[in-house]
Amino acid sequence: MSLIEIKDLKVHYPIRSGFWNRITDSVRAVDGVSFNIEAGETYGLVGESGSGKSTTGKSVVGLEKVTSGSIMYKGLDITKAENRRKLDYNHDVQMIFQDSLSSLNPRKRIEDIIAEPLRNFEHLSKDDEKLRVLQLLNIVGLDADALYKYPHQFSGGQRQRIGVARAVATNPKLIIADEPVSALDLSVQAQVLNFMKKIQREFGISYLFISHDLGVVRHMCNNIAIMNRGRLVEIGTRDDIYNHPLHIYTKRLLAAIPETDVNSREAHRASRLAVEQVYQDQQSKYYDDNGAAYPLVQVTPTHAVALPQTIAQQLASQEGEVQA
């Protein structure tokens, strides 16, 4: 059984307007998303900004009011608040936020920030709690000096480490990492990703790793879901997504990864423009009449794409020929 099973998750935000302030329409931030996260793995959720990744992530942590669908954990549907309470759900599922500054309360000392989940879930003695906080700081590579300081006294990378320490404090089973390194410098990004991986190995944590950048996800994730306009357009293993992409949206995200090799820059640019051209020309083939993605169809046991069956088969066989 998977650690978490998300089934047909929908989150719609009502749009109110008119004299009576009645609900006239809705933003379909998440519109029918299903995937499973296995224990100990890193699952990638990738899509451009506004595609509904954060909303999905927050729903999994229990921060979002879900419109319909279910998220199963230990046999209970945690979209219901009483089930979350019964399971002490957030003891096991924690979150790392994109904006490290706004996710740390500016008026609280680091000790109180990291100890917050401990105080709510573990009720340790004062000394044990302080010891745990010091150990956590040590694990994320910060000095004990940090204990009585405030968040604004740290750099972005250090703050994100504090955010990770808080998320790890209760030794959870799953951490939702919502673009944890997007706001950081490239050099700091690598550091943070590396110790997130180290922590994963040592504590056996699963990650739901959210990113808008397939380049970052490549080094982190075993399985990846591509999200577009509130729906999943492609699911597969790392190999499926990077080497056999089928949906034009995936190809476009792949083409958007910055090329570091100066010599092939020109070729990269050409291929990016070609993909963009196809994306503009073949909208009707890849999306239905309303501009929404099709339901997913399975092309191999691990690989699914949101296309009509026939087109999916055709593309898959083309892809196969190229590979052969």
């Binding site: 957030n90 309360n105 500016p106 008026r107 010091l134 150990q135 004990a144 204990l147 300081k149 030794n171």
Partner: protein, 316 residues
């Protein structure tokens, strides 16, 4: 599970005392310390603070030694006695009552009402605004309709009506009557900041850490709007001194046998008093001006300290 942390970190219980001490040496000073050093760096603010605290203590204690009913008795011999004499430091009014004594008791009454009013109405307004802004939904909707209704009522008129129909009232009743009408401004202000603050990720992080709504509202969000609260409270306090004074001046505040800054300033209603018997009203007027200026100056310093980014004094 604790073993898990022991295993992957090289810190153990033995290091606890040493590391705590190291961290304490590096600790950021507490807010109280920052505020104090802010006052030390700003001499006029210090002077203002001393004036306010000193004056309030003086009238509170001084009033205890004055027998008010006796003081308010008419004394023909003292009719408009000149100020700066042995019996009447600040002169006497048309009934021969000591202005200095009236000023002390009157200040005690007026400031007491202002403090009470500020404490009650600000506490209520802050809670109302925080809860309304945080829960933003049906709760917010309902609370805002009540707010709208209260805003619709003509405040001064309602107070005058209430004061007229209530047969016996004193400064405590009056404080409560005022409080009914003076929480709205604060609540709107606090609500709008709370709405913005609730959207921030640290609130989401607290929810995800299992913290209860009430703790999030009062322990997480409230400290973050403390500078707004401080400024609003000091301004309300300065304003509230004026509320009682204004109504007493109009004759709808405290009963006439109870002296207050308002009843003393009302002496200026008589044209004779304005020019000839200036000592009957000028001390009270000066007192209000000095108090209000000092309060708003202190408020500014408090705000600066609360916004630690705007810190002026060095912290050491």
């Amino acid at each position: 599970m604790a073993e898990n942390f022991e295993q992957h970190s090289d810190i153990s219980a033995a290091d606890l005392a040493r590391l705590t001490q190291e961290a304490q040496a590096e600790a950021t000073p507490s807010t109280a310390k920052i505020i104090w050093s802010e006052f030390k760096a700003d001499k006029p603010a210090m002077a203002a603070l001393i004036i306010i605290v000193g004056f309030i203590l003086f009238v509170m204690i001084g009033a205890l030694f004055i027998n008010t009913p006796k003081m308010m008795e008419t004394n023909i011999m003292g009719y408009f006695n000149q100020p700066f004499t042995a019996d009447f430091w600040l002169g006497a009014d048309s009934a021969g009552r000591s202005v200095a004594k009236q000023l002390i008791v009157g200040s005690r009454n007026s400031i007491g009402i202002a403090i009470g009013l500020t404490v009650i109405s600000s506490t209520f307004g802050i809670c109302w605004g925080l809860i309304s802004g945080y829960f933003n939904g049906y709760i917010d909707w309902g609370m805002q309709r009540i707010y709208d209704f209260m805003m619709m009522l003509p405040m001064t008129m309602m107070i005058i009506v209430l004061v007229t129909i209530i047969p016996h009232y004193n400064s405590v009743t009056l404080t409560f009557i005022f409080s009914i009408f003076y929480w709205e401004g604060t609540s709107r202000l606090i609500r709008s900041r709370t709405l913005a603050e609730s959207e921030k990720d640290y609130v989401a992080a607290s929810k995800a850490s299992g913290t209860s709504h009430w703790k999030i509202i009062f322990r997480e969000i409230m400290p973050n709007i403390s500078s707004l609260i401080i400024v609003d409270c000091t301004l309300s306090f300065a304003e509230n001194i004026g509320v009682e004074t204004g109504l007493s001046y109009l004759g709808f505040g405290l009963p006439s046998q109870t002296p207050s800054l308002g009843t003393m300033i009302a002496n200026a209603n008589d044209p004779n008093n304005i020019t000839q018997y200036w000592w009957t009203w000028l001390p009270a007027a000066l007192e209000i001006i000095i108090l209000c200026l000092s309060i708003s100056y202190v408020g500014q310093v408090l705000r600066r300290a609360a916004d630690s980014s705007q810190r002026q004094g060095s912290v050491n």
